[in-house]
């Protein structure tokens, strides 16, 4: 069993009169499959990034490495996560549906990793 430590920090000095500056961290037990950071080129057609049948409860990291092109991530039929240029996501996934990814145009690279609990 390995320990994964994800930390999120949100900072803003001018979003409100009260500065935002907080950090949250977690300690996760990883016991099964992992894919360490990898990259793949997307296209405007759906690519199955993670097949639900291959995983149980997992933690997913995604990052759009492109400077301009938007990427769409969905969990079946509904567009849910939209990764703008340089944006990232980290979330627990129950593997109830495939994670599909496509680009708005071109063939930009998405960086991805998955850690199965």
């Amino acid at each position: 069993m390995a320990t994964l430590t994800p930390t999120l920090t949100l900072v803003s000095t001018d979003a409100s009169t009260d500065e935002i500056n907080f950090s949250v961290t977690d300690s996760l037990n990883i016991t099964k499959a992992i894919i360490s950071p990898s990259k793949v080129a997307l296209s405007t057609g759906d690519l199955t990034l993670f097949a639900a049948a291959s995983y149980t409860k997992s933690y997913v990291y995604l990052k759009n490495t492109d400077d301009t092109i938007v990427m769409d991530i969905d969990f079946g039929t509904q567009l849910s996560i939209e990764l703008g240029a340089g944006e990232f996501a980290f979330f627990p996934w129950e593997s109830s549906g495939n994670i599909l990814a496509k680009s708005a145009s071109g063939t930009p690279y998405i960086e991805y990793a998955i850690f199965e609990a």
């Binding site: 996760l28 969990f75 939209e82 703008g84 340089g86």
Partner: protein, 142 residues
């Protein structure tokens, strides 16, 4: 124009033999498109009791196809087996056990673009934040 920066780091010293894991990514939260940063936000805390499904962020006033950023953390400390299930667009995505958090850029692509949280084993305390491209408060009842 406000500037809010999100940074994630993911690390592990024992995930892979002989190699530590260190992922780091950072981005400024931008409105739809890539030129204007976020100004509107909503933050808070809530208790989600068992079997109660809460609409954390409702549809309606949200601009269709707008960019949002969602942060939810289960801050429960009483019991590590407590958890909530969260949904985007009425699709179950995952569970947030005590201490777990999620952060995603979210597309409010239609009128059913809710974000929902359901307590399954609890009660759970959550904290949340949403950064928004556009937002209109619900109209007052007449």
């Amino acid at each position: 124009m406000a500037t809010t920066t999100a940074t994630v780091s993911i690390s592990s010293s024992d995930l892979m033999p002989g190699s530590s894991l260190n992922i780091s990514a950072s981005s400024v939260l931008m409105k739809t498109g890539i030129t204007t940063s976020m100004e509107l936000m909503e933050m808070g805390n809530a208790e989600i009791v068992e079997d109660y499904e809460a609409q954390l962020f409702a549809d309606g006033p949200a601009t269709d196809n707008g960019a949002y950023f969602i942060y939810i953390c289960n801050t429960t400390t009483e019991d590590t087996t407590y958890y909530v299930e969260y949904k985007l667009h009425e699709t179950v995505i995952g569970r947030l056990y005590a201490g777990d958090w999620m952060f995603v850029p979210y597309n409010a692509s239609d009128a059913d673009a809710e974000v929902e949280v359901k307590g399954l084993i609890g009660p759970n305390k959550i904290e949340y934040a949403m950064f928004k491209t556009a937002w209109t408060l619900p109209a007052a009842e007449s």
